[in-house]
Symmetry: D2
Subunit: 324 residues, 4 copies
């Protein structure tokens, strides 16, 4: 293998740049030519492909976002789109790919590999941490810390005004961000998609809590089965008597995606990027380079996509005990 290319796809996450940098420099270290593809799969289709040097990735390690930009591609979902993509890669002489992204990114990579035999290794770049085959995803630690800092600030106001805050954090299908924020933020309650909490339970719990605490924080994963923070707050209001005017909602939103990555995310992005290139060189294809128990593990895309990674139940118990 002489020429490889790297791209980012799906929602951006902090540490993607660290990963790109690692791919480029590891490639160069192993005497490969490394190309950068802009805008993910659309970029392959359109030939938005440029050779990268070591200095192309200088001073990006600490930046959020992705210098290769990201996009969701409808065209790549079509057979015609993938055919064009294949032709572009052939034209550029690219023999292997590193795909940084989440489930959707890996699904595309898997199909592409199966159809055209292009070796692809994935790196888990998403803030949601919901990918099987790695303890953490690149960007998760930063997102949790960003949300946590926000919750620390909200607690100042909640305490000053004796309020109950419903704080919505990201997590469409998983409660990873929510549960870590809840424990780290000392939240009184957490609502995650993985467990069922009824509105009556929330209402009862909050009523009871008012005997010992003057303010509370409920962390809500956006994908909770009862809805987002606003919906849940409105539902609770209908059951809760007395203090509804104390209820407030904050949706943290997109700030969770950006920002300078934490040490953990820079390290994880770097390790995963290096491992992806070594995977390509060692015939580890059609898989993701994750880190499990501090060791590199290559997991087939099939498993990454189809298996689910459960929440550690200890965390839920911990949150419950510590909120007394």
């Amino acid at each position: 293998m002489k020429k490889i290319a790297v791209y980012t796809s799906g929602g951006d996450s902090p540490g993607m740049n660290a990963c790109i940098r690692a791919v480029v420099r590891t490639g160069i270290y192993y005497n490969l030519e490394v190309y950068g593809i802009k805008y993910g799969y659309d970029g392959i289709i359109n030939g938005n492909i440029k050779k990268m040097q070591s200095h192309s990735v200088s001073n990006i390690l600490q930046r959020g976002g992705t210098i290769l930009k990201s996009a969701r591609s409808n065209e790549f979902r079509t057979k015609e789109g993938r055919q064009k993509a294949y032709e572009q890669l052939t034209k550029h002489g690219i023999e292997g790919l590193v795909a940084i992204g989440g489930d959707g990114t890996f699904t595309g990579a898997k199909v592409f590999y199966e159809e055209y035999g292009i070796p692809v290794v994935g790196c888990p770049g998403t803030i949601d941490n919901d990918i099987y085959g790695t303890d953490y995803t690149i960007g998760f630690d930063t997102a949790v810390n960003t949300a946590l800092e926000a919750i620390d600030k909200i607690r100042d106001t909640a305490a000053a005004h004796d309020r109950v805050f419903f704080v919505e954090v990201m997590g469409r299908d998983s409660g990873y961000i929510a549960i870590e924020c809840a424990i780290g933020g000392g939240a009184e309650m957490v609502m995650v998609p993985e467990t069922t909490t009824t509105i009556s339970e929330v209402s009862d719990y909050l009523k009871n809590l008012r005997k010992t605490k003057t303010s509370s924080i409920v962390v809500v994963a956006e994908g909770d089965e009862e809805g987002g923070a606003n919906t849940i707050m409105e539902k609770v209001k209908t059951e809760f008597i007395g203090d509804e005017k104390k209820f407030k909602v904050t949706t943290l939103g997109h700030i969770q995606r950006g920002g300078s990555p934490t040490a953990k995310d820079r390290l994880l992005g770097s390790r995963s990027g290096l491992a992806a290139v070594e995977g390509l060189l060692n015939g580890q294809y059609n898989c993701m380079a994750g880190i499990i128990n501090d060791q590199v593990v290559y997991t087939p895309f099939d498993d990454c996509i189809n298996k689910s990674k459960p929440l550690n139940k200890d965390y839920l118990k911990l949150q419950e005990i510590l909120s007394i």
Copy 2:
């Protein structure tokens, strides 16, 4: 004067604790007894009043929120409420008050002074910076920096995905936070209550901008005449053709109120608190202790409440020129 008391009222703001600390320690320095009143005017009415020592305010300088808690009091708006409040103060022997808050707080203080002759000096504690008689209000600098850090993060994502973000910051009646965030965040547009910007202008500007920039940020003060960020985004969508799916909205919300105060807010809170106590001792009543051009200035409550502090027009021009 031998006994004074201090309270916070209205929305909390970072630096209120620095101000409380300064009132307590300056009072002690001048051999006064200093009392803390919890929950603002409600606390006076209910006699929620406790003596404070120097160590009561240890280690709070760097904390957001207010250790004296805050509340909006309906009862104090009634003659009966104020009568009760007066009786409580008499009972505790309190001869002077320091009121930390905004317009509403000062209005209460003014009426109280006029009816009962209780000397009150105010300190400008609000993130909005919309108070006449001081260059800055306590909490404004922190709120701007918090919003700015959020905008920096959002720019990462906006750039990675070529998006147009409408970011709503606080400011019901004024665009101070918005304009400083827009300049500091390099925003392409800013919408503030003080100026009229039509939806067509926004739409045209954004259309034009797409020729030279792939992503943009529009900072919206929550009190803009066209509505909040979400409303404005929806309106622009109806006029804008082509890239509406690139539009995103983030409402920063309550994170802007909390957090550890910046150096400026700690300094301002400390200076204003000291000046308030010295004002009480020197017969400067019924006024606010603000800082203008780096000097303490006492401004009658009447002016603080009725006069308005215009935006510096240089800022609007600066934002416009720099967003090219």
Copy 3:
């Protein structure tokens, strides 16, 4: 077991308060009385022991330092000191201890257990991460992130002035902080006690580097075999010809110990504290409650003290490859 007590000892680390909180609340959850001992072993000897409630640990989760204060005790190293300590515990009816600290803390706990049979469980509270029996120690992640933010700032100046910065981070016996900072900070070189790097190698590497880079950062663990950053810089100067005036040294020092803990350290402190109490209840004594591969593991104090935890060699290779 009805009454337990908790103390912190040795250097403070961010997340100790999260751990104290978890011990107190978990104890209460299991119907124990929980006591707080101030100033570590000295506090046991002097009977500086107070009962704690759930609210005693409110609002400390996000604070650096330790509300129980810490100290190094010479008296506890004597038989007489430990005898007094035992008498105090008997007097207070305390049947089990949670000791938060590092090697020295655990050594004291082990001796105490062996002599008097007082059940003790340890929690790994130190920024250095050099304790066997846990993947990470409480405070390590915060220290790394604090050092990393400092390095990010230093890089701004290094780049602006084309300088070579020698940055000293904590780590008397281990290079954990140094290697994670070096990778996360994109450092050109790292010097750790675990590996031998000669001054000539540094000098040659830096000379060579000047061909491709205008500025560099060398991260030095304070315990490197060649000395601290200042010593190393002076030594390199004698071998290096041409650009010595570009050399600068920064010793990060005590800022690495303090500050609000990261999400990881709050979580780790909380989990370890909970596990310590459960250990006491389940007869797991004379050991430390660490987290290995995301699961609670109790490791005998003997092993924690005598076994060493090696640096992951992958990290050293990663740093080398990515600094090209």
Copy 4:
């Protein structure tokens, strides 16, 4: 005037990039060609000069350091050097300069203007805030906030271990950073070049303080007449009896120069840069564009260099009263 150029010189400071951006975009707004000179005066001499576009300064507003790099030039101090510099400017057709830096930078600019009549306007870029003609210098607010965050962290450890910390902040000739950090950090003492504090006074004060406080922080400006933090600590030790082992020193060093600028520094850098270009266009030469009382003021270089800006005495009194 058709062509202007901008450079940074002397120590870098956060907000310099905001200032460069403002110069470039304001120039383009007024239909000028704007050139960037790298490495300050050396860059003029060597013709290190390149045309800049609006996008050349994209995404730098939030970055510390200076994209134009900085250097101290010995050659420019010679007549020959300045002659070369003049020839380079003539060759490139550059008719006006914006010089971002401090005293040394302005001295060079003044001499150059006097000898060759090249119009120059300065922008106050230095963290020290010791320049006459502007309320604040670009970078000062960031440096103070960086130092303050460090002091907040140090206080965690000081409190946990009952220590007296001597913290050295930047300020070779002035105590601006020190006094604002001391007030903001709740320091027990501050030592600045502008006032005389003897070692005996420090020693007595600290002895006395131990009656009411268990830990203390002394902020020392590096240019204090008694020496830096380490020297002062050693001196105090010789007079102080009992607790010397509680003394610790931290020198904050270069972290104060870097980092993402605060809102204030981005605003100040932007305003000053815009004003500098407008100054060139309006015949305001040989002067600095500062901000006094929120208004642009042009002050002759002569005054900037020769007049000194005193510390606000209110600050010293405030620090003293609040540290009780």
